[in-house]
Amino acid sequence: MKLAVVVQRYGADLNGGAELHARYVAEHLAPHADVEVLTTSTTDYITWKNDLTPGVEQVNGIPVCRFPVSRERDPDDFGRRSEHVFGEEHSIGSELAWLRSEGPTSPALVKHLRRHGHEYDFCVFFSYRYYHAYHGARVTPDQAVLVPTAERDPALGLEIFGPAFRGVRALMYNSHEERALIQGVSGNERVPGVVVGIGSEVPSDPQPDRFRQRTGLHGPTLIYVGRIDENKGCKELFDFFQRYARIDQALTLVLIGNPIMAIPEHPRIRHLGFVSDEEKFDAMAAAELLVIPSYYESLSMVTLEAWALGRPVLANGKCDVLCGQCVRSNAGLYYENYEEFAESLHIILTQRRLREALGANGRIYFDRHYTWPTIERKYLDMFDRLQQEDPANRPAREAIPGWFGRRRRTVPPASDVVDRLPRGPASGEGGAAAS
């Protein structure tokens, strides 16, 4: 079986969520299939600047074929177009222009797929919202398997993505909430889909004492791992923690990750910066719990890692995915305001039995649904299923409207579409349910 993993950026040192996801999937499917990665020659997700050489190279034993990006992103143009399609009535043409503006615009990649797509059994596209996935899936309708990595953001409400969700062979969802969102916006229930997520390489013997000795932190710790960014809910986290620290002066908030925003000067907030995986897992094992303040997550790998280490999480309850994961796993509490944050944190910190029970549930949940053998099996089962599918039953590809149709301003604002989608955790058993 020959597979193409198509992703916007690829590299051993890239830590973006979807990019890391794609690399893990490619590397874990490599023993089962002939995997090739098709990507762009950029590492900058803001400008898509061509900073790598186009061509083929090997990354961790996987052949990676890079294609140039034809135009860099103009942030002003992209912002203007985003405001238009998200907030105003617009046309399909405006959405296609928005997609080009967002990038990474790589016609060479799409051309390669058009010419050689049939040589692959399946092309696994990552991140529905980018140029490569939209146009690549359109030119390889018989091979396209989409890993949407969708969140509740306005882009999901764009009209052009409905046919894309309905036109692929299968979707590999990260969570039940993601599946509910995509089915709600596109009505693609007939397209095969499975909630898969992603596994994680968690060491079996992390050394919490090593972390404590290295940092000198011996009291209880609350840990946050990820980009320290206002968009990740860190501002609210700092606010809540500083209020809580007035009550509990022994607790320390440990931050791991690159800061995009200012970190408040506080004696109980400790920023360790970007650390190695070993140090990260040591820190997580030493912590009482992990906090995930983000409002938008499609899966949150770090949550799964915490559960794999037997640590409970305290998640932002306004994020449907995190809330749903906590409810399904019974391995974390969630908050929607400061009172709930303080109560939940206090309970987890002070009640050892509850903390241990939540951690144990998290470990069970991870072992059951997010170990790599399970993830690989789900992918391979889906490929088998698709190969046995009768080609006559495949849905016909929906064409893009014509010249006049693309210019008709009848498409509602994407934000309104997303606002109408159901909220809250989705029902579903574990992560194994398949539709």
């Binding site: 796993s329 509490l333 969630y334 009172e339 709930e340 309970i347 509850l354 029970a357 549930n361």
Partner: protein
């Protein structure tokens, strides 16, 4: 914090979150309720604006701010923009031939006039003259408008400055409002505590009064037993022979009911012997009750009893004395009678007031013995 009953294999995050949210709601319930807030909001503020209660000069500052706010209202009326039309610069067919060179100029003007037909062959200068005239008028008019706009802008700026000052005054007023409200809450809390203290003191005083009355009655009994044992005995015998034990019980019950309060008095006393002026409260001297009864009411001891304490209805003449040799037991006997469970008719009197409480049992004064005034 209440413990959650968590079993390792039965953690239900949804239920825990419900419990957490319930606890948060309970905590919030300890704050002001919605009714309290509404009540506070509906109270008229001026009622509490007393300089003796709040900081010195606060009300005066209020009034000053209020006056500052009220004075010099902003005039938003639109000023008259149009003045008289500007003077026009005269243009006519001759103007364009004129010259300012004096005598030479006249020659030039004449030459120009002579050549005018040739000029008119080329173009007609009249419309140009007319247009220039109009333009001059328009220019002057525009200048005037600009001047007026400048004036208007200055006035608007001044008015904005005044509005800014007004906003500043409003901010000061807000801080004063906050201070007054804060004082109000403090004062109301203090008054509430004071009121509770006073209520407790009234209860205490009432209890002590009742105890004192009972002690006085007991002492009177002892004194009278010692001073007039023969009379007492005669009276007692006389009473027994004339009215019998039933009448004695009736009087005793009447006295008890009077002591306990109006409700019980009304319920227990026969209509014939309980006058309307009694009021049932047991505090009013009852002339009819003090009047000679058929059974030995004419003894000297009985005549002196109401004068001592009409409320407590001296027990000596009417009370069947168990034994003249044991006068000290009299108070305890009476107390035991009073401490008996109230009848249905007594219920209203028992519930009548706090003064019943110390009467109800002997240990009560002892319980209150912590109060040094009581001893």
């Amino acid at each position: 914090m209440a413990e959650f009953n968590i079993q390792s294999d039965s953690v239900d995050v949804t239920r825990i979150m419900e419990q957490i949210r319930e606890r948060i709601r309970e905590k919030r319930g300890a704050d002001y309720t919605e009714e309290h807030v509404r009540e506070l909001a509906s109270v008229k503020l001026e009622r509490f604006l007393d300089p003796r209660q709040v900081r010195s000069g606060l009300v005066e500052q209020y009034r000053q701010l209020d006056a500052a706010e009220g004075q010099d209202p902003i005039d938003w009326s639109t000023p008259s923009l149009l003045g008289p039309p500007p003077e026009s610069f005269e243009f006519d067919t001759e103007t364009i031939y004129k010259s300012s060179r004096g005598p030479t100029g006249k020659i030039i003007q004449m030459i120009r006039k002579l050549l005018n037909p040739f000029l008119k062959l080329l173009f007609n200068p009249d419309p140009m003259v007319h247009a220039l005239t109009r333009q001059a008028e328009i220019n002057a008019y525009t200048l005037q408008l600009l001047q007026q706009q400048t004036d208007l802008a200055e006035r608007v700026t001044k008015q904005f400055e005044r509005a800014g000052a007004k906003f500043q005054a409003r901010e000061e007023l807000d801080s004063l409002n906050y201070e007054v409200l804060n004082n109000l809450v403090v004062e109301m809390t203090r008054l509430s505590v004071d009121m509770k203290n006073h209520m407790m003191r009234v209860e205490s005083v009432a209890g002590r009064l009742d105890f004192a009355e009972r002690r006085a009655r007991a002492l009177e009994t002892v004194v009278q037993h010692r001073s007039t044992p023969s009379t007492d005995e005669a009276g007692s015998r006389d009473g027994d022979s004339t009215s019998g034990s039933g009448s004695g019980r009736t009087r005793r019950r009447r006295r008890r009911s009077r002591r306990r309060g109006g409700g019980s008095g009304e319920a227990d006393a026969p209509a014939a012997t309980q006058p309307a002026t009694d009021g049932g409260n047991g505090d009013t001297p009852v002339p009819t009750d003090a009047a000679p009864e058929p059974s030995g009411g004419g003894t000297s001891a009985e005549a002196s009893a109401p004068a001592v304490d009409t409320d407590t209805a001296s027990p000596t003449p009417e009370e069947p004395v168990p034994s003249a040799a044991a006068p000290e037991t009299a108070p305890s006997v009476e107390t035991a009678t009073l401490a008996s469970p109230p009848t249905t008719g007594d219920a209203g009197g028992d519930a009548g007031g706090p003064q019943d409480t110390p009467v109800s049992a002997d240990p009560e004064p002892g319980e209150r013995s912590g109060d040094p005034d009581e001893q």
